[in-house]
């Protein structure tokens, strides 16, 4: 009987070892993937009940947690509401968090790996764990200036410090009040969310980095010119034919310049003149000469089509898709066709030119600080790419400066400062309103800010507005705000 008992003991031991293993697998091995499962409401409750760290821009608190006295313990409050909605995003029940709230949720809720010891400490000392504070790079003065400059227009503004990639302003309009979605009444939040979602102007979309995207129009000519100069076969004085209209190969479509005439006088036109006057036909011809691959590579070096780009929230990639025909390629070459971009992308193009051809990775996060004020993450400028050489960057700067001083971007002139810029007035369809653009930087000699402005729906003027007339003056105000700091 004892022999059998020993065997049964081994069986019992094996059963318990199996239990030790199965609990270990769930609680340790698979823990992270189980916590990440969207059906696990505990993660959500936990992030709600922890005292979430604040989000701070300069000396302005743009998101904070207040004791709420209900079962969630804390209510998320956004003192600046609409102004910073594209930056903060919102923190909500039963839904995906957006903006910094979403992409840095682990830090804000105190659950990031770096905070493990703090968590343990909080458990041992019986305190509620606190989340880390996130400081953003946004300058409240510039943000406010950009917000005011945009007025009631539908569009977005991004301002970047070219030397570091710091995002100084990120505005998207129409905006929304994140407080509407951070409440603890599920039904109210849901009603608010549905109302925002069904709004035809799509206020929940952060147009500065995502959305349906717009054709970049003439601002894309910066990419085109860079591509041409980078081949080494072109200089600003290289010429292309200068007809007043051009029938695209294999189609009935003819294209013309904005002026409806030739691009300046003469039968040939230099690239410098074509860029300064923002003519379409010369760039269509240039695109056909360069070919898709050269332009595409240049666009990608500037950040187009990078699915991983995040600031840290994911950026919807701008695209320069492979055209079906040469005619399509020629349309895309002056920022039409299926060419699409968001403002951050065009600001990156300007920032790279401003920073001697070196593109710094754009970023919104200045610093992440634990509750005990130890720094968990400090912002380090990093190079994203080197899309153009410093020589080409210098040439591009000169071209963009003359574009503002004596060309199609005169609306961005600032007294006593050399401004580099490029406008865009993109067509969306035969009868649809234009998309108006400006991108540029200032001062040209010592660039402190690169900016991109996009205005959707023709800024309310259908097909009569222009990038220079409406977008450039808005950009000018943003650049002035930086220069006057």
């Amino acid at each position: 009987m004892n022999k059998e008992l020993r065997r049964v003991s081994v069986l019992v031991l094996a059963m318990f070892l199996a239990l030790f293993s199965s609990t270990t697998v769930i609680q340790v091995v698979q823990q992270q993937s189980l916590q990440a499962d969207s059906r696990n409401v505990r993660t959500l409750y936990a992030s709600f009940s922890a005292e979430r760290g604040p989000i701070i821009a300069g000396d302005t608190t743009i998101a904070m947690s207040e004791a709420s006295g209900d079962e969630y313990k804390y209510l998320r409050v956004y003192p600046e509401g609409e102004l910073y909605a594209p930056v903060t995003g919102y923190f909500t029940l039963n839904g995906e968090n957006t903006g910094i709230e979403g992409s840095l949720n682990d830090y804000l809720s105190g659950r990031a790996n770096e905070q493990f010891l703090d968590q343990l400490n909080a458990i041992l000392t019986g305190q509620h764990p606190k989340g880390a504070a996130v400081e953003v790079t946004v300058d409240p003065v510039v943000q406010q200036a950009a917000w005011d400059a945009l007025g009631d227009l539908k569009g977005a503004i991004v301002a970047i410090e070219p030397s570091s990639g710091r995002i100084l302003a990120m505005v998207s309009k129409p905006s929304y009040d994140p407080n509407l979605l951070a409440g603890h009444s599920q039904s109210e939040v849901l009603a608010n969310y549905d109302a925002l979602l069904s709004d035809a102007d799509a206020p929940l979309i952060n147009r500065s980095i995502r959305g349906d995207l717009n054709p970049p129009g003439s601002t894309f000519k910066l990419v085109m010119t860079s591509a041409a100069l980078m081949t080494g076969e072109y200089t600003p004085d290289s010429t292309v034919p200068n007809p007043s209209s051009l029938q695209l190969p294999g189609t009935e479509t003819t294209i013309s310049n904005q002026s409806r005439g030739t691009c300046g006088s003469g039968s040939e036109v230099t690239i410098a003149t074509a860029l300064r006057l923002s003519c379409n036909i010369p760039f269509a011809e240039l695109g056909a000469e360069l070919g898709y691959d050269v332009i595409h590579d240049q666009a990608r070096a500037f950040g187009f089509e990078d699915p991983e780009l995040g600031v840290p929230m994911k950026v919807q990639p701008s695209v320069f898709p492979e055209p079906e025909s040469e005619a399509q390629l020629m349309l895309q070459s002056f920022g039409q066709g299926d060419n699409r971009a968001q403002p951050l992308q065009m600001a990156m193009v300007s920032a790279a030119i401003a920073n001697d051809g070196e593109l710094m990775r754009p970023n919104l996060v200045e610093r992440i600080t634990a509750p005990d004020l130890s720094v968990l993450q400090d912002f380090e400028p990093t190079v994203y790419s080197q899309p153009i050489t410093s020589d080409v960057a210098e040439t591009m700067t000169q071209l963009m400066v003359s574009n503002v001083a004596a060309g199609a971007a005169s609306g961005a002139r600032i007294e006593g400062v050399d401004v580099a810029g490029k406008t865009g007035t993109a067509e969306n369809g035969d009868d649809d309103p234009f998309t108006l653009w400006f991108t540029g930087f200032a001062p040209a000699t010592d660039p402190q800010v690169a900016v991109a402005v996009v205005l959707e729906d023709g800024a309310g003027r259908g097909q009569s507005g222009s990038g220079n007339g409406i977008a450039a003056p808005i950009a000018k105000k943003v650049m002035e705000a930086v220069l006057n700091r």
Partner: protein, 478 residues
Amino acid sequence: MSNSPTEAIGTPEASPRPSAPTTLTSTIRIRLREPARMRNLELGLLLVALGLGAAAVALVQLGAVGELDGSIFVLSAVPAFLVLLLHVIERVVAKEADPIVVPIATFLNGLGIAMIHRLDIAEGYTGWDAFAVRQIVWTVIAIVLAIAGLLIVRNHRVLQRYRYIAMFVGIVLLLLPVLPGIGETDANADVWIRVGIFSFQPGELAKIALAIFFAGYLVTARDSLSLVGRTILGMRFPRARDLGPILVVWVLSMGVIVLQRDLGTALLYFGLFLVMLYVATGRASWILIGLSLFAAGAWLASSLLPYVADRFHNWLDAFNPEVYNRLGGSYQLVQGIFGLADGGLVGTGLGRGRPDIVPLAESDYIIASLGEELGLIGLFAILALYLVFVARGFRIGVAGQDDFGRLLAVGLSFVVGLQVFIVIGGVTRLIPLTGLTTPFLAAGGSSLVANWIIVGLLLRLSDSVRRQRHVVVEGSPA
């Protein structure tokens, strides 16, 4: 544990009292040697267990509410007093009883009350609606019954005489829930009866009755079951007519599955019987036959009964959204696993997690609740305590004098271990989930009563074993 002197002494029935081979001096030496060491050890452990239980309740209140509420402590003083009374009674009627089982049962019971109290706080139950209050009342009843058992059963061999009555009682208890009038169906299984305001799971008590019956029956029938038969492939298989008992138990288990829709209970009884049969006869062929029978039965049940098939589905494909969202699907299982994962290594701390998200968190899923708030460390401690509990029972089986007592001790402790395995294995997706309770921890009177009676019987069995052993050690010429 290998060289127990049992065989050397002859049949256990021959020496019921420490009289035959002892001299006067050796008897005196026994008395002097261990006057109350066991009991003092037990008292120490018991105070630790009670202290830990009180601390757990306090932590729950501080964690979940932020302040202490005295009423639950006042109530808990009654079972605490009773368990100390049990200790005092042991000093009189079972001096040599095992000193570990009562502290373990007390600690687990207290921890269970703390966690049930924690869930009451989360759900807002107070007064008589609170599961914890009812659990305390049941604890009182259970400990009183354990004391009564210890006092009434002064010699466990009496139980052997009542083996057929035990069988009858066991079967009746098993069938009670299906009787019209008192049977009650809950979401999972028909294992409840309701009399007045009390609902009761008679199956829990049936496991004791059946363990007594199996032990009594197997001790008498073991020879014909183990010695006769023909050898095939080096294994001795029993004669066809000796297959009777195992077939009866198999039919009973299958009946439980079909009538009460309770896979776990069926597995529990059948596993209990198989292990006791194996220990009694030493024939591995019984295990083979039994497992094949059960596997065939389970396969048949899963292909014929949709609810059994669902259980298997939920187990194998728990995270599939379709299975998860289905009525009676894997929602509870998956939420329990989420809770465990949220606890991680060290747990959220008592009162700090959200165990109330899981349905039936205080009964079937108490282990997930504990795992969430106490973490893997806490679960390991709980599992280790169960393992020690089972080991103490097996010790009686190894050291015991009479085969009935040994078999009974093995059966009773094994059934606790197997139940732990079936429940926690189900919760952690090791095996399909079934509706059994975690011994001592889960909310539910029947489970508490049954397991405390097991404690009482183990005390009695261990006491007789030790009394006999000392005599043997001191008096035998070896």
